[in-house]
């Protein structure tokens, strides 16, 4: 089938709702999410889970999932169960910064926190949740719905609908949020848990993405709206209910592990995780991701950001970190205080040049926004351009992928 403009707009509206769910912060809707989990099991032909555990972040959820995934005695995860206090790599710094050792549980303090939380909810160390049922609960219903949607809409209609209801989500949610979280979670677990890390990292790959699953659910909900008789959402209603109300989760035969959504999520104007004065994504149990314009930054650096100096910036060896501190300090201030050279001014703006010892030079165009602000002033902004740039015009042209000769806007606003 061929979609009309109105049908495309309907699909885009559904995608907007799922995008909103994907960046939704605040406490999970536990009752609704649990009902969704039970429905997902039933729709997969499985008995409902006997118990549903709630954890405060995907990090805690991954650990809980690894503890419930039938740990065999002597495995590195079993050592996290009740082993002696033998801090793994990274735990030492945690203990130094934190408030005292972690009871009788090995590893950093948050591991003890997850144990305590699970126990409070009725878990006994050694209890197994059974085998993972992610395939039955998520993968198979998804594959079946996709097959049915293709049959109902035709290949062209399905492609058109996927573009209308899913194109933005993949980039915004999977690439810029869920993907970052997955990557960072793996790195943090590795840094914190030593020998036990691989076993705790595995569930990260096995997660059901909860609110981030809206990226693909949007397309099926839109398809269902177009073909109400094809039953395209029938087997996905449970998953959709969890996705509307909670964060990442894990499905096992006898138990499910659900997690909270972040309490805070801050992004910049193009959707990248971005915050200078704290974690850009912060979960209620304290787990957070620090990022500057999508670039993950070590939490230690964050504390330095308000007190940056020229010397501190100059001495930074890591180029990506240097970019973060430069942006935070402000290019204009840095160019001024570090004594940048003005290479020239033309009708497009002014080109500035600054040598960075041991690095490629910092070359920037200073541009005046063509449309005045409501108060009559004009906003000035800065664009970093390649170091070989020789004129402001060449620099501005480069930002649009053109040469200085090619770049001649007739009108600009």
């Amino acid at each position: 089938m061929r979609l009309t403009h109105a049908q495309e707009a309907m699909a885009a509206a559904i995608e907007d709702q799922w995008l909103a769910a994907a960046v939704q912060t605040g406490p999970a809707g536990r009752k609704e999410a649990e009902a969704g989990v039970r429905a997902a099991y039933r729709l997969a032909g499985l008995p409902e889970p006997e118990r549903i555990y709630w954890l405060g972040s995907p990090r805690a959820g991954a650990l809980a999932a690894s503890l419930l995934r039938a740990p065999t005695p002597g495995s590195p995860v079993a050592a996290l169960d009740a082993g002696p206090v033998s801090p793994a790599a990274g735990a030492a710094s945690d203990a130094a910064a934190g408030s005292g050792p972690a009871a009788s549980v090995a590893g950093p303090e948050w591991v003890a926190g997850v144990h305590a939380e699970l126990r409070r909810q009725g878990w006994a160390p050694g209890e197994s949740g059974g085998a993972a049922v992610r395939r039955q609960v998520r993968t198979e219903p998804w594959a079946a719905a996709r097959k049915a949607a293709l049959a109902a809409l035709g290949a062209d209609g399905w492609a058109q609908l996927s573009a209308a209801a899913g194109r933005r989500s993949w980039g915004l949610v999977m690439d810029l949020i869920a993907g970052r979280l997955r990557l960072r979670l793996g790195e943090d677990i590795t840094a914190d848990l030593g020998d036990a890390a691989p076993a705790v990292r595995m569930p990260v790959l096995d997660a059901i993405y909860g609110q981030h699953d809206g990226t693909w659910l949007a397309t099926f909900e839109a398809a269902d709206r177009l073909c109400p008789d094809a039953g395209l959402m029938t087997r996905l209603t449970g998953l959709a209910e969890v996705a509307r109300h909670s964060g990442w989760w894990w499905a096992f035969e006898r138990v499910a592990v659900l997690t909270e959504r972040p309490g805070l999520l801050e992004r910049d104007n193009v959707g990248r995780l971005h915050r200078g004065e704290g974690a850009a994504m912060q979960f209620p149990d304290g787990y957070g991701l620090w990022a500057w314009r999508g670039m993950p930054i070590p939490p230690g650096l964050a504390a330095e950001l308000p007190h940056l100096t020229l010397d501190r910036i100059r001495s930074e060896k890591n180029a990506e970190i240097r970019r973060v501190v430069l942006e935070h300090f402000g290019y204009e201030r840095y160019l001024r205080e570090a004594g940048a050279r003005r290479l020239g001014t033309d009708e497009t703006g002014t080109l500035w040049w600054l040598d960075l010892p041991g690095d490629e030079p910092l070359v920037m165009v200073e541009v005046v926004n063509s449309t005045p602000e409501p108060d009559g002033t004009s906003r000035v902004y800065w664009l970093r351009v390649p170091p070989e740039t020789r004129t402001a015009r060449e620099g501005v042209a480069w930002t649009f992928g053109l040469t200085a000769e090619e770049y001649h806007p007739l009108i600009q606003t």
Partner: protein
């Protein structure tokens, strides 16, 4: 060549437009050249018979087909009139050593 903030519209010959598919309209039925995710502001194009299309092989490469005339609007920038013709849409980028990235307008 017309510029509205971080978006440039470059006239191209019809022959330079690759095989394309229509870019889906947003929920308000608008054709969007680029959007700010945090502000919700958008560069929107419209006009009689006007079509916003994307390269089948690279959906990020967009083109505008303007049969008679068109108009580009944005919440923070002045509107721009587009004469009949074909245009390639380019979003501004910024240099990052070893890579580049879009500008957050």
């Amino acid at each position: 060549m017309y510029r509205q903030g971080d978006v440039l519209m470059i006239p191209v010959e019809k022959e330079q437009v690759p095989a394309c598919a229509p870019v889906p309209r947003d929920r308000r039925g608008r054709m969007i050249l680029a959007r700010g995710e945090a502000t919700g502001h958008a560069h929107v194009v419209g006009g009689p018979g006007l079509a916003l299309v994307a390269d089948l092989d690279d959906p990020e490469r967009m083109f505008i087909d303007v049969p008679t005339h068109g108009r580009v609007t944005h919440e923070e920038h002045g509107p721009i009139s587009l004469p009949a013709g074909h245009y390639r849409v380019v979003r501004q980028r910024e240099y990052v050593p070893g890579a580049f990235r879009p500008v957050a307008d």
